[in-house]
C-alpha cells in the first residue's frame, strides 16, 4: 500500500474537457483560463475517430502547456496501451483513467507510464494518475484503487451518474450521489489525494450545466470538500475557478477571527464567543486553512497570468 501524503496539493479548480478529435477546440481551450485542460479520448470521441484523435495529441499537449494550464489526457481504461503511447510527452502532467473497472487497470497504467517515462526522457514517477470512479465496482474498491499506485494524485466520480444511470430524486438531488461524493472525499482524505467533483442537481447532467448552476455546484462542492471539478464548456470555467476559491469576505472574516482567537490565546483562553458562535482550536484551524488556500490560489493565478502573457514563469 502506498499513500501520497507528501504530494503537493496543486490548485486545480477547473478541468476543461476538450475532445482530442476537435483540434480547433484546443485553441479556444488555451484561452479559457482553466487550471487544467483535459484532452479527452473517451467521452466525446467516437470509436471511429479515436485513431485520428490519437495522432498529434502530444503536439496539442505541448501547445496547451505553453498557455499556462496543466494538461491531462483522459484515457480509456480498456485502451490504455494505445492511448498512453499516443499522449505521453514531457509537457503532460498526467492522465485521467475513465470508466475504471479494476485495480489491475491502475497497475497496467502505472507500468506503461514507467516504461514511457524511461523511453521519452521524463523524470521517473512524474506522470500522475487521476482515477475516475464511474462504476459501482470502482467505487466499492475506491480505497484499494487509490492506494494501488503512488502516481495517484486525485479521485473523481467523473460522469458516474450517467455511467451508473443515477437520476434525480423528487428533491432534485441526484440519487445516491450525496453518499458517493462523501465516500469519495473520505477515501481521498484518508489516502492524501485530491477529490474532484461538484455537487450537481437537476437539471445538471454529466458535467454539463449553465454557468449559474455550475457556480452553485462548485460552491456546494467546495463546502463538502471537493477541490475542483471537471466541465465541458468554456463558460463553466470561471464559475468553477471562483466557486472553488474562498471569497474575499470569507477570507476577511477568517483573518479577523484568527486575530481575535490568537489574542485570546495570549490571555490564556482557548475558546472565544462571538455572538452565538463558539470559536475554539478547531475553528481556528478551519480559518487558517481558508487563509492558506486563498493565498496559494493568489500565487497560482499570478503564475497563470504570467504564463498567458508570455512572461517567464519562475521555477516552481
Amino acid at each position: 500500500m502506498t499513500t501520497n501524503t507528501i504530494l503537493p496539493q496543486k490548485i486545480r479548480r477547473s478541468w476543461l474537457l476538450v475532445p482530442a478529435s476537435q483540434k480547433e477546440r484546443s485553441v479556444t481551450a488555451a484561452k479559457s483560463n482553466a487550471d487544467v485542460v483535459l484532452l479527452d479520448l473517451v467521452e466525446f470521441v467516437s470509436d471511429r475517430d479515436k485513431p485520428s484523435a490519437r495522432e498529434g495529441i502530444a503536439e496539442t499537449v505541448r501547445e496547451l502547456r505553453e498557455g499556462g494550464a496543466e494538461v491531462f489526457v483522459q484515457v480509456d481504461s480498456e485502451l490504455l496501451y494505445a492511448d498512453l503511447h499516443a499522449c505521453v510527452c514531457p509537457e503532460l502532467t498526467g492522465i485521467v483513467i475513465a470508466h475504471l473497472e479494476s485495480i489491475a487497470q491502475i497497475q497496467e497504467a502505472d507500468t506503461l507510464l514507467s516504461q514511457l517515462e524511461d523511453e521519452r526522457g521524463i523524470l521517473s514517477g512524474a506522470l500522475e494518475i487521476v482515477a475516475s470512479l464511474e462504476t459501482a465496482q470502482a467505487n466499492q474498491d475506491a480505497f484499494q484503487i487509490a492506494t494501488a499506485s503512488p502516481r495517484i494524485s486525485g479521485l473523481t466520480l467523473g460522469r458516474a451518474e450517467l455511467v451508473m444511470d443515477l437520476r434525480p430524486e423528487p428533491s432534485g438531488e441526484i440519487h445516491l450521489m450525496q453518499y458517493l461524493m462523501q465516500r469519495l472525499i473520505t477515501v481521498a482524505g484518508a489516502v492524501g489525494v485530491q477529490p474532484y467533483g461538484a455537487w450537481c442537481r437537476e437539471p445538471d447532467r454529466g458535467l454539463l450545466a449553465t454557468p449559474e448552476n455550475t457556480s452553485n455546484a462548485a460552491i456546494r462542492g467546495r463546502a463538502v470538500g471537493f477541490k475542483g471539478s471537471f466541465c465541458v464548456l468554456e463558460n463553466q470555467v470561471e464559475p468553477l475557478n471562483s466557486g472553488f476559491t474562498p471569497g474575499a469576505q470569507e477570507v476577511d472574516e477568517a483573518s479577523q477571527l484568527l486575530k481575535q482567537y490568537q489574542a485570546a490565546v495570549t490571555e490564556g483562553a482557548a475558546s472565544i464567543r462571538i455572538a452565538d458562535r463558539i470559536f475554539d482550536a478547531g475553528a481556528s484551524l478551519q480559518a487558517q486553512a481558508t487563509i492558506d488556500r486563498a493565498s496559494k490560489i493568489a500565487v497560482h493565478d499570478q503564475a497563470k497570468a504570467d504564463a498567458q502573457a508570455g512572461r517567464p514563469v519562475p521555477a516552481p
Binding site: R159, D165, R167, E169, L180
Partner: protein
C-alpha cells in the same frame, strides 16, 4: 436464452397462519406473495406455520404471483425443510449479518432442491439487511451466493431498533446504510432493492396515493422492486413501477435518434433540449426491456386468473 428479468413490482407479506389473508392472496394482483413465518407469526405457532407453506404456495400462486417465504433468522434448518417445495421462488432471510449465514442457506437449499426435484438454482435468497452488523458486512453478504439476485434493506423497524432511532421523523436517517447496501448491489450487478427517500411522518401502510408516488419516484431513479403489507398498495405499486406509454414512446424515439447520431460519428447531440448520447440510449434500451418484461408478467397473471375463474371456484 437470456435470463428472464425478475418482475417484483408489488407484493404482500402476510402471516401464513391467517387463512383469510392467504386464501384471498391470489386475487390481489400481486407480482409476489411473501408468506411469513417470522415476525407476524407468534413464537408458539412457528411449527404449525411451517406445515402450511406447501399448500399455501399452490394457493397463492393461482393468480400468477410468485411465492416467497420469509423464514426465521434463528430457525433456518427447520424452516427450510418445511418450505422448499416446487413453486417456491425465493427464501427471504431476515437480519442477515454474516456471509457464512448465506452460505449455509445456499447449502441447505441446494440439497433440498436435489431431493425434491427442483431445478438447481431455482430458489433465490433474499438477504435482507436489517442491522448495523449487516450493513457493515453488506458486500460480503451480497456476494456470498449466486442465489442473491435482489439486495436491499438498511431501513425499517429492525434497522431502527438496532440503531435506537424513532422512524418517521421527516428526514433521511439511513443515507449511509442504504448507500452501502445499494453500492454493494450495483457493484455485484444485483437488482438494488432500496428507494429514494420520501418524507413519511405517519407510518401508514395502506395509503394508495403515497404508494403510487413512492413507486413512481423509485422507478424514475431506476428501481424496480416493491412490496408492502396492505392490499390497497398493490395496484398503485404495480402501476408506479411500470413504464408509461409516453416513456416507452420516448425510449423508441431516443434509440432512433441515437442510431442517427452513431452514423454521423458524433458522440452527443442536444435535440430540443434533450441530450442524446450512449447513456440515454442504454437507459432507453433498459426501459424497453423492462416494459416488455412487465407486459409479459401482466399477461401471465391475467391468463392465470382467467384459468381459475373458468374452472369456477
Amino acid at each position: 436464452m437470456a435470463e428472464e428479468i425478475g418482475v417484483h413490482r408489488s407484493g404482500l407479506t402476510m402471516p401464513v397462519v391467517t387463512p383469510r389473508f392467504v386464501d384471498n392472496a391470489w386475487r390481489r394482483g400481486c407480482d409476489f406473495i411473501n408468506l411469513d413465518l417470522e415476525d407476524s407469526v407468534p413464537q408458539h405457532m412457528k411449527g404449525y406455520a411451517r406445515t402450511l407453506i406447501k399448500d399455501a404456495i399452490a394457493n397463492v400462486t393461482k393468480g400468477g404471483a410468485e411465492a416467497f417465504t420469509r423464514i426465521n433468522h434463528d430457525l433456518v434448518q427447520a424452516d427450510l425443510e418445511g418450505i422448499v417445495w416446487p413453486g417456491l421462488s425465493k427464501v427471504n432471510y431476515p437480519k442477515a449479518e454474516y456471509p457464512e449465514e448465506i452460505e449455509k442457506l445456499d447449502r441447505i437449499i441446494s440439497r433440498l432442491e436435489r431431493e425434491r426435484g427442483i431445478r438447481p438454482g431455482t430458489v433465490e435468497i433474499g438477504a435482507n439487511i436489517e442491522t448495523s452488523v449487516g450493513v457493515a458486512n453488506a458486500y460480503d453478504i451480497a456476494s456470498a451466493s449466486p442465489r442473491v439476485k435482489e439486495f436491499g434493506g438498511a431501513g425499517g423497524y429492525d434497522m431502527s431498533r438496532d440503531l435506537g432511532v424513532e422512524m418517521f421523523v421527516g428526514f433521511d436517517q439511513f443515507v449511509y446504510g442504504k448507500g452501502e447496501v445499494e453500492l454493494a448491489a450495483r457493484a455485484l450487478g444485483l437488482e438494488p432493492h432500496t428507494a429514494p427517500f420520501t418524507a413519511n411522518t405517519t407510518g401508514s401502510v395502506g395509503d394508495p396515493d403515497r404508494a403510487f408516488r413512492e413507486a413512481e419516484a423509485a422507478r424514475k431513479c431506476g428501481f424496480r422492486v416493491g412490496g408492502g403489507l396492505h392490499p390497497n398498495v398493490v395496484e398503485p405499486q404495480t402501476r408506479g413501477f411500470t413504464p408509461t406509454q409516453e416513456e416507452v414512446a420516448e425510449a423508441h424515439q431516443t434509440l432512433d435518434q441515437y442510431r442517427k447520431l452513431e452514423v454521423s460519428g458524433e458522440t452527443w447531440a442536444d435535440i430540443d433540449g434533450k441530450i442524446i448520447d450512449r447513456y440515454e440510449a442504454a437507459r432507453a434500451r433498459r426501459l424497453l426491456e423492462w416494459s416488455a418484461a412487465c407486459a409479459r408478467r401482466d399477461q401471465a397473471k391475467a391468463e392465470a386468473v382467467a384459468r381459475v375463474e373458468a374452472v369456477g371456484e
